[in-house]
């Protein structure tokens, strides 16, 4: 029997480490070490209910397991063969217990290719990766294929870059392969910066060898002998596991000189980033690795012509790399049979926001937003109404009810005014104000703009100020025109992808929620009740019973009133935090 314990960052934060130790201790104490193995794996994706424990072979899926539950799991499940009922997953809608992951709505529609080994193998043990067909693709490519043949396989598979732009990965390799150069580099972009997206981190934490293997294949195809992983220093667990994996690969001779006796040499180093969003852009990333400021430069020259240290360089994202070994194992045709006409394979999404099942999911391209949000995501929290879903992070836009049945792929998302980005998906309900959402993303871009080109540095700041004016109820129709014009100009004239896409959240919310902008301007009203300057909390005299709950919870003591008498809010002191509204059990606080 195997007990798999999730060792991703999310579950780690909920003490899965201690749980792992406790389980091992219990197993040893009961003298079952020969029969039961306790293994830490990568992320299962169901972060909403972590820490996750999966029992093999009966596939029982335990959720929200605490270190104290270890004894009960071993005593009841392992020894007596009875499932621990209180730890089983309960369907949020139908309220029934589901004991196996394959029956859960969250997993039913998923197809895990990039995440295939996450939650299956121990990421700190190369033997488990080898057992799961690891390095078989590398063996095949190095011994049976010429670089051009292997590159052709990738072109035929139709794999597109998963970092945001969706450029065909095989074509990128082919360009880098054709460029002449004595020294070439392979770079893995692990500078994941979209708010809410964490798939790259999870892959590096759960299956680091798949990225290493793909980088070596990449090196062989384009004629490079050096690889660099650019990763943000704020991912300590991913860095640690990657280091362990690199050392193990070196020990096994799968990295270094004369790999598998073929005479091909490849070495990989790690470079740390300080977590600047702009460094996800490949030219900025390369400059940062060279020790320069993380600022983008104009393309061309593309990195394939002049990249790291002026040498031909191929940059791919973590998730892109993680797909590659499987493509060589199962063939380009297999991969191309999954997905839509122009977007092949699957995509990992980080589901977040007002959704029941927050977590990491992987679905075939062409799955609809409705399936992702309502079937896998389990619908909107607290039975509220769906309003919008933000995809593509600060570069993307908001999609609404009318887009729910759109099959998700690179081109459809762009056609609808958003983009794939790296796969963040933030779901919003009726309580979210779209002007505030646009302002939030602009705030992020203003913070993260490197400041090199004027449209991005100054333009985004102005966009942000306009949005602030509107959310204070002081905007005019002229401001709306300015927002649109300025947005278009920034898109057209910025140097890199950051500026070229930063007005998207504004433009797409204007397209889809025009009424909401008008309400802020014409009626000085925030329909969602979010913009603090436009709302007012008041006591509804006829409902107030004088329970004092509001007064006791008010952080600024602006509510006055005697017990059992109607209370009163002093508007001059009120900071509109909404604490009174949340605490009142008698509907005696109104928002207007």
């Amino acid at each position: 029997m195997h007990i798999l314990v999730c060792g991703g960052t999310g579950c780690h934060a909920s003490a899965s480490n201690q749980l792992l130790e406790n389980l091992k201790e219990q197993v040893a104490e009961k003298d079952l070490a020969g029969e039961v193995q306790v293994i830490a794996t990568g992320c299962f994706g169901f972060c909403e209910k972590g820490p996750i424990v999966k029992m093999i072979p009966d596939n029982t899926f335990y959720t929200q397991v605490t270190p104290e539950d270890a004894a009960e799991i071993v005593e009841e499940h392992v020894i007596k063969g009875r499932k621990v009922q209180k730890l089983l997953y309960r369907d949020p809608v139908r309220k029934e217990i589901i004991s196996e992951s394959k029956d859960m709505g969250f997993y039913k529609k998923q197809l895990r290719i990039a995440l295939r080994n996450c939650g299956l193998i121990d990421p700190e043990n190369i033997d488990e990766y080898l057992a799961a067909d690891g390095y078989a693709a590398l063996g095949k490519v190095l011994t049976e294929m010429k670089p051009e043949e292997a590159t052709k396989v990738l072109i035929d598979s139709g794999l597109r870059g998963r970092g945001g732009g969706g450029f065909p990965a095989g074509v990128k390799w082919e360009i880098a392969r054709r460029v002449q150069g004595d020294l070439k580099f392979v770079v893995c972009n692990a500078d994941e910066g979209d708010p809410g997206a964490f798939m790259d981190r999870s892959i590096l934490e759960g299956d680091p060898h798949s990225v290493i293997e793909a980088m070596i294949i990449n090196g062989y195809c384009i004629g490079a002998n050096y690889g660099l992983v650019y990763i943000r220093a704020e991912y300590p667990l991913a860095i640690e596991r990657l280091k362990i994996a690199l050392n193990q690969a070196r020990e096994y001779g799968l990295l270094g000189d004369d790999i598998l006796g073929t005479g091909f040499n490849f070495e990989i180093e790690i470079r740390y980033g300080a977590g600047a969003f702009v460094c996800g852009e490949e030219t900025a990333l390369i400059h940062s690795m060279e020790g320069h400021r993380g600022e983008p430069t104009f393309k061309p020259p593309f990195p394939a012509q002049s990249g790291y240290l002026g040498k031909p360089t191929n940059v791919n994202n973590v998730e892109t790399f993680a797909n590659i070994p499987v493509i060589f194992n199962k063939g380009a045709e297999w991969f191309a049979s999954i997905g839509t006409e122009k977007s092949k394979g699957t995509k990992v999404f980080a589901l977040a926001g007002k959704i029941n099942n927050v977590g990491l999911i992987e679905v075939p391209m062409g799955t609809t937003l409705r399936e992702v949000i309502f079937e896998i995501g389990g619908g909107i929290k607290d039975g509220k109404k769906f309003k919008a879903v933000q995809t593509g992070g600060p570069s993307g836009g908001c999609l609404t009810e009318k887009h729910l049945d759109t099959p998700i792929d690179f081109d459809n998302l762009v056609a609808n005014g958003s983009m794939m980005g790296s796969g963040g998906m933030i779901v919003m309900d009726e309580d979210d104000c779209m002007v505030s959402v646009a302002r939030f993303y602009l705030d992020f871009t203003v913070e993260e703009s490197c400041g090199k080109c004027t449209p991005c540095r100054v333009g985004n700041k102005r966009l942000f100020e306009l949005l602030e004016t509107i959310s204070k109820g002081k905007g005019t129709h002229n401001d709306l025109d300015k927002l649109r014009n300025l947005g278009e100009v920034i898109k057209d004239t910025s140097l890199c992808g950051l500026g070229q896409t930063s007005p998207n959240p504004v433009l797409s919310t204007m397209d889809n929620f025009w009424d909401e902008y008008l309400a802020h301007i014409d009626e000085h009203r925030c329909p969602a009740g979010q913009c603090k300057d436009l709302i007012k909390y008041e006591v509804v005299a006829e409902n107030c019973v004088g329970c004092t709950a509001c007064a006791r919870n008010c952080p600024v003591n602006c509510i006055a009133g005697e017990r059992k008498e109607v209370h009163f809010i002093d508007q001059s002191i009120c900071i509109k935090c909404g604490a009174c509204f949340d605490k009142c059990k008698f509907n005696a606080i109104s928002v207007s």
């Binding site: 596939n59 020894i79 394959k102 299956l120 080898l130 057992a131």
Partner: protein, 130 residues
């Protein structure tokens, strides 16, 4: 330190290591595979069920038989411990009692390999609900 020096080395290593995670991969489709459940409650363990289970795990692997061996709770036949349940694909499960290592060997060779019933079957007198 193990070095993987060639493709042949890599393939050999994979074969040797496969069993490490085979259980996890197989458990996704348990119906098509031989399942052996060993009753491992207190009475079973006291009568030597642990040794029997270890025997099944190592020997099924050694004899290249694809199977899932797992422990289960008390089946209720405490007079006949250790007891095991064997389920061949597409067949009803069969429960054997008084399984010592010799019996275990016989069960693998005759029942699991050839489908021939051997002595020691306990008629199943219960139904389980899922």
């Amino acid at each position: 330190m193990k070095k993987v020096k060639s493709l042949a080395d890599l393939k050999k290593m994979k074969e040797q290591l496969q069993s490490r995670i085979a259980l996890r991969e197989k458990s996704e489709h348990p119906d098509g595979i031989i399942q052996v459940k060993v009753a491992m409650a207190t009475c079973g363990i006291a009568s030597g069920a642990k040794d029997v289970m270890d025997f099944f795990i190592t020997n099924l692997e050694k004899r290249n038989i694809d199977a899932i061996v797992s422990q289960t709770g008390c089946m209720g036949y405490c007079y006949a411990e250790p007891t095991i349940e064997v389920r061949l694909p597409g067949q009803d499960p069969v429960v054997y009692g008084f399984v010592d290592l010799k019996k275990a060997d016989e069960i693998i060779e005759k029942y699991i390999k050839q489908g021939e019933l051997v002595d020691g079957i306990i008629p199943v007198n219960y139904k389980t609900i899922d």
